[in-house]
């Protein structure tokens, strides 16, 4: 019964974003992650962790988002190995335009159908399962 969830929840959220904003869920996660960061700026590796994807995947997605004008890259002046991803004003506008629809869909699919108790149960359950998947990976911070 978890099976159905795993296979259908992410595609459902992805579909709403593609339909209404022309963004994949992962792309949205990247832009949203940046939008909440100080100076709307993050190192690529930090952004990859926040968006929950590999650095390789992020690198290519960021290239696309950069071509679309929603962010830009710059070497970190304090350490040339790091690359800073910076949300542009246009990217900020995109997030502002996109977030409400996404949030509404999450509410519609996840929060509205559940009781308050079930929402809390879900948090506890997710925490335990994630712990079993990645024991080290400290799960104090919520990822999106």
């Amino acid at each position: 019964m978890l099976g159905g969830l795993i296979f259908n929840l992410e595609p459902a959220l992805d579909a709403q974003l593609r339909r209404d904003a022309g963004l994949s869920l992962f792309e949205y996660g990247v832009l949203a992650g940046l939008s909440e960061a100080p100076d709307r700026t993050l190192r690529m590796s930090v952004l990859a962790a926040i968006a929950d994807g590999s650095l390789s995947r992020l690198s290519q997605v960021v290239s696309r988002l950069e071509k679309r004008g929603w962010l830009r890259r710059t070497p970190d002046p304090s350490d040339g190995r790091y690359t800073l991803a910076i949300l542009t004003d246009s990217g900020w506008d995109k997030v502002v335009a996109t977030a409400p629809g996404h949030v509404a869909e999450v509410r519609r699919i996840v929060f509205d159908p559940l009781t308050k108790a079930q929402v809390q149960q879900t948090a506890a359950i997710a925490r335990r399962i994630l712990q079993a998947i990645a024991p080290d990976h400290d799960c104090l911070n919520d990822r999106r």
Copy 2:
């Protein structure tokens, strides 16, 4: 907090199968679905619903599994529009060899970390969310 789950649980199960059996989670679902069917035989469209994938995706995956000798295809004698997918003996052996490791991983990641109450809560929660995603899609049957 559901986010992390959605992004990590399926990949974790997929990784175990690829590592230990050289099968993707979806490929395993196809073989396992057939292995539980009467005569180890199903119509492609039924198998697609069981494995929770599109017909197009199934068609291509079945081609690969057929090349590997784990199943074969035959037109349905009673209606030439249907195609029957039939698990071979070799495919059966593959499922028998693969299932224990997969089941153990599911247990390790999902069932062991949860209390009995949490497992039941999960079922109720998943049912409600799935209902919100696909109101028609009757959720009486558990998909894997």
